[in-house]
Amino acid sequence: MRLSHSLVDFYEKYLFRYLGAFYIWNQAMEMAVETFEGGVAVVRLTGRLDIAGAEKIDLHFSVISGAHRKVIVDLEKVTFLASMGVRTLIVGARSIRSKGGKAALLNPNTDVEKVLTDTGTDTLMPIVHDFAAALHAVQG
């Protein structure tokens, strides 16, 4: 019994800490931008768009939203989305719209899509599931 408790203590106090470092490295938000003909910017996000993720990309996302009128945000590799991440997307979308531009959200997973629809984010940027539809949404 004592051994079992010691193992649990070890597991909870130490192992999480080291696994945590790996987890942070593995899940840290990444943002890459590719520009296509016609001035379409594709922002590819990878990882967790939580508080830490939103903080990491906020400035870069804001710069891209401020500089482009046609933006596709590829969410295929986003594994998690919480309200601060939603905030990042909405602030960017408003910036694009304020210039008369359009944005679209591409390929969110089921859970991420539920967050987007529950918050009304999809009324600001349509959710689409293929690249051709995304191009059409931002160019139409």
Binding site: F80, S83, G120
Partner: protein, 138 residues
Amino acid sequence: MLIQAELGELVRVGNWIEALAGRLSLPPATVFAMQLCFEEAVSNIVRHGQIAPAGGNVQVRLGVERRSGTVIVTIEDHGIPFDPRMEAAPAKPSRLEEVAIGGQGIHLMRKFAQHMDYERGADVNRLTLRFDVPRGAG
């Protein structure tokens, strides 16, 4: 699990839930919902409840209990009284410009947890969330 009311602690919470998911046979959708609610609840405590009556930082105690067909999550803190159920849901946008930039956290908790309960006792806020685990999942 006991954490400080600091946003940096959310990484440790995320790892904890990932580890629990395997031990408790939780399906990915339930893990997502739990992580979302923990993130929103803890960030609310950090924003609204940082005043510890005895001084120092507020601590937050997180609990997860697996029952048949459900997971019960408890979040307790010693911060100022705060009942998230009293927060008004953001208005449903009728125009694009009305989509709320903030205030979505508690709204999302309502959407992703099947039930939310709150009680205040002995200077502790106690939030209880229930997540139904789909039959056959996990």
